[in-house]
């Protein structure tokens, strides 16, 4: 693997793992679904190319950053608590790692990932110059 877009993704995921050892780091949606929680998701985004150049010349890379946790769907207090903790964790990740944030932090209300298992969390996009 030689593309900087991909190697940077790996490097960022490794750095996240070192800084947040109690969270599982998911590098794709499937890894998130099959992994353990709470989890920090870092998915591949977009490789933006300079339209002024005929040759392929990437100028910026974006990645999707998220924090998810499992909640009890029959317990509103647990849901509220997990929404709060995942939001604070996402803010903590952005501050700790010094990421430049491209989009708003948006809620992911709830996703069913298995029989009786639901996760909630927050998602945003981070950007790096190539």
């Amino acid at each position: 693997m030689s593309s900087i877009f991909l190697t940077k993704h790996q490097t960022l995921a490794t750095a996240l793992g070192s800084s947040f050892p109690t969270y599982s780091i998911a590098k794709s949606e499937i890894e998130l679904e099959q992994g353990t929680f709470p989890a920090i998701g870092l998915f591949l985004g977009i490789s933006e190319h300079s339209k002024e150049s005929i040759a392929y010349a990437p100028i910026s890379y974006t990645y999707i950053l998220s924090v998810f946790d499992i909640f009890d769907i029959d317990d509103p207090a647990d849901y509220s608590s997990k929404q709060s903790s995942t939001f604070e964790k996402l803010e903590d990740v952005i501050t700790t790692m010094g990421y430049e944030v491209l989009t708003d932090i948006e809620p992911v209300v709830s996703i069913g990932i298995g029989e009786g298992q639901f996760i909630t969390g927050w998602i945003t996009t981070i950007i790096f110059n190539a």
Binding site: E48, S50, E52, S53, A55, Y56, A57, I59, S60, F128, N129, A130
Partner: protein, 173 residues
Amino acid sequence: MALTYGTDGIKQKDYRVYVALANTAGLAAAITTYLASSSKTNADAVIALLDELGECRADSIDLGIADGDSIEGNRLGKIVLNKTGTFTAELINATPTNIAALEELDGNACTIMLVERDTHGNDLKTCILMNNFNLSYSEKITGGDSIRSTINIEKNVPDAGSFRHIADVDQTP
């Protein structure tokens, strides 16, 4: 002349802005060392003597070198006698403390260094140094917007290199 073709230099770059009075103790010596050898250690020594201006609006950081005075030659056409170098940056984190600090720089000879925020290529950062130019401060306070504080330098120089020194500094430890 050593022009090379490629796409390596096509990069979108953002910069951190560092500024201080040009007569800051030790700065002249640090700059002399950095200009002789643009290494990470020497660049860091210069940056350590400067203060970071920020948070700035990214696309307000603007360095330009344009043609200055010229003479129309009878055989060769327009002959440019000098260049006009300009630099501006707009501070959006314009707290009263930051505004007061910039007011102190106003009208004084200052040193400004731009350092690429990210790295490009093989762990390189582009560093641009402008040394010993008179700095001007201006501000704009408008309802419904954050306070904008702008710094500006401008000088006619014989060539681009007299206004700024630009180098890619290897960040590998």
